[in-house]
Amino acid sequence: EAGVAQSPRYKIIEKRQSVAFWCNPISGHATLYWYQQILGQGPKLLIQFQNNGVVDDSQLPKDRFSAERLKGVDSTLKIQPAKLEDSAVYLCASSLGQGRFYEQYFGPGTRLTVT
């Protein structure tokens, strides 16, 4: 079974530039999550999708971050414009469902450096 795929693996941009990350979840997984992991901290949920609908985006900085999952499969996370404090690893995860008993499977992450 293929795991969660993410690209790119690394990205370096200057502040005020835009960047987009892509995630392909495990086949058949209805729920998709984006997390932000700042160095020295645990992952923090940014947004959760159930199929193509948003379940929770309460911690997404909506003035600069956006995410979509138009066809209920792949997802993109965008930052526009980027700030220095956005430097982090962005992790995508998926699960079969959104119920609390479903395990989340994580991708390798995208390491973003904003200079």
Binding site: G3, P43, L45, Q48, D56, G107, G109
Partner: protein
């Protein structure tokens, strides 16, 4: 609000010795607890989880964790550490009673020395 505390940034242990990585939690209802491991340049990998039942949970790679409700702890343990266990370990919790997100601790770096 849910929270997780991992009081140690770093744990060092000699190969072959037992290891413990500490975790305490806070939730309003009953906890649903996880341990994940992260190797360099890799995503988080699931180790084990506790929902209900036996307080000692066995997981992948010989790891186990002990749930202690009175101390609100969920410490990760392994009887004999391997050099390959060296990684970053995260404890996470969510409230069983609601549709709340998974909340992670800040992580503990385990270093097993040969």
């Amino acid at each position: 609000a849910q929270s997780v505390a991992q009081p140690e940034d770093q744990v060092n242990v000699a190969e072959g010795n037992p290891l413990t990585v500490k975790c305490t939690y806070s939730v309003s209802g009953n906890p649903y607890l996880f341990w994940y491991v992260q190797y360099p340049n890799r995503g988080l990998q699931f180790l084990l989880k506790y929902i209900t039942g036996d307080n000692l949970v066995k997981g992948s790679y010989g790891f186990e964790a002990e749930f202690n409700k009175s101390q609100t702890s969920f410490h990760l343990k392994k009887p004999s550490a391997l050099v390959s266990d060296s990684a970053l370990y995260f404890c996470a919790v969510r409230d069983l009673g609601g549709n709340t997100p998974l909340v992670f601790g800040k992580g503990t770096r385990l270093s097993v020395i040969a």
